[in-house]
């Protein structure tokens, strides 16, 4: 099994990667820290799982070389499950990338990261409702402290690809 860690720039993918694999990749507080991919391993329910830390991207249509690497990693790992890390205070743009990935037929789990920052900004997200509409697991996390990681890991094997028309229907009507 393979997991791709994807998401917009500077949402904490590398923090996830280091936490999950015990590996060391550079983490910083600016977009574009990771410009190349790194592979690592973790065990989920007794199975060795490969995790790839993918450079940040806003969409699968690349506008710089780091995003090109991201789109290429996704194409080259057809069998992967994607953990899409979303900045909980900037949900819409994160969902854009998540939907694009789901349209390509990948099973996906959403981590609403920086949950604490969103709370500080008085942004509330109905996680249960979001999960219901999207039809994929949604977990809120604070990667720096490790909050929500256990739940996230437990959902990785549950998720399956979802058809867009179902999401559109559940979101209430025509796209």
């Amino acid at each position: 099994m393979k997991i791709l860690l994807m998401g917009n720039p500077n949402v904490g993918k590398s923090v996830f990667f280091n936490r999950l694999t015990g590996a060391n990749v550079i983490e910083s507080n600016y977009p574009g820290t990771t410009v190349d991919y790194t592979k690592g391993y973790m065990r989920i329910e007794g199975e060795d799982v490969e995790i790839i830390d993918v450079p940040g991207a806003f969409s699968l249509e690349p506008k710089d070389k780091a995003e090109e690497v991201a789109a290429k990693m996704l194409r080259e790992n057809r069998d992967a499950t994607v953990v899409c890390v979303i900045d909980a205070s900037k949900v819409e743009r994160g969902l854009y990338l998540a939907l694009e990935i789901m349209e390509e037929g990948y099973p996906l789990v959403i981590a609403l990261n920086m949950w604490d920052v969103a709370e500080d900004k008085n942004i509330q997200i109905d996680v249960a409702r979001l999960k219901e509409i999207l039809g994929v697991p949604v977990v809120h996390t604070v990667a720096i402290s490790g909050e929500g990681f256990r739940e996230l890991v437990s959902k990785i094997k549950e998720t399956v690809p979802v058809e867009m028309d179902k999401i559109i229907k559940r979101a209430g009507g025509e796209a």
Binding site: P9, N10, N18, N24, I26, E27, S28, N29, Y30, P31, G32, T33, V35, D36, P55, K63, D64, K65, A66, V69, V91, E92, L95, Y96, L99, E100, E103, V117, D120, K121, N122, I123, Q124, I125, D126, V127, R129, L130, I133, L134, I144, E163, M164, D165, I167, I168, A171, G172, G173, A175
Partner: protein
Amino acid sequence: MKLNVDERWNLIEKISKKTVTFGKYQHTLKDAVGELTVKPLTGIPIAVAILYGFWSIFGSFAGTLCTDGFFVKIFDGHFLPFMQKVFTGLPKWLYYIFVGDPLADNCFEAFGVLTSGLFLAIGVVLPAIFIFYLMLALLEDIGYMPRLAVLIDTVLHKIGLHGYAIVPTILGLGCNVPAVTATRILETRKQRFIAMTIMAIFIPCGAQLGIMEEVIPDTIGLVLLYLITGYFIFGFILNKMLPGRSPEILIDVPPYQMPTRRNVVRKLRMRITSFFKVAIPFVLLGCALVNVLYLAGVIEWLGNVLAPVFIGWFGVPKETVGPLIAAFLRKDLAVAQLSAIEMTKYQMIMAVVLVSIYFPCVATFAMMLREGWRELLGALATLVVTVFLYGGLMHLIGIVLGVA
């Protein structure tokens, strides 16, 4: 089923309306500080203060405290005499390679692999990169880099880049190798080429800065001025010459964050470990190589052949050829070697600038090749022209001013 861009945004809007509620946003102290550091009127003085602070801490910690205050005393006072005594029995040529000049009383002049090589790597460069990366980690984790990018945006547009190019440039001040890869955050090929090329030519790495701070403390300012001026002149020319777009800056300025000790320590450890793995072998290897070439007479021969160019065009003594060979392996080593050559102050400035701009070190070279051989060839062509034009121009300025 796949959606087009509009359909996707429509869907997101519907989802967001059902799941996300935005409460009233409270303006915090963090936001206020954030604005102060990004608005030009207050931001530019703050940036100057931060960079100046960075530079003075770098110099006083690495140069004054660690190297002069500690390592010089240990290496020159105890280690060098010890090595000179222990290895007296060695055949002459082996002694020369590993211990160096038997009459030397300091590690800058001895130039043996185990004396100067170790001294430079551990006594000079290690403190420099330690303090550099510690401060860099703090700036990175606080979230200051994107703000610096916004402030310097207008200036960098003049050379075909935008503000975010400051990120690879600052990383390059630590080490050019990761900085080459970091240019990937720039949008177009033109921008990447310009950023990579002028960075590889003009930006000295942390190791080199540490040595410069040590051997030419009085004139390092002038050397840096030459390098920065060159960075902008050749960036400007490349921008005019090359086809391609230079788009506007479009970045997220993240909120300020308290750096966590865990992450700062880990980053520091990672970067220093990679220094030990990559740099130290190259410093020692470079030392050995140069000594062998001296013994074989290659350096003297090359020096004589190239003397007209060196003396006539660049105004440096022909002995500079030795350091220039070493510079291909490690720039820090080359600068240290320069310090052992008899030179006037003017020649020293010229020689240090030449060593800095003349060729990226082999590790940077390999990294540039990874980004594409066309880019590498282009960068090399630019480099050859730059070295001759800029080197010649500097010498001309020296002649005109009457200091040459």
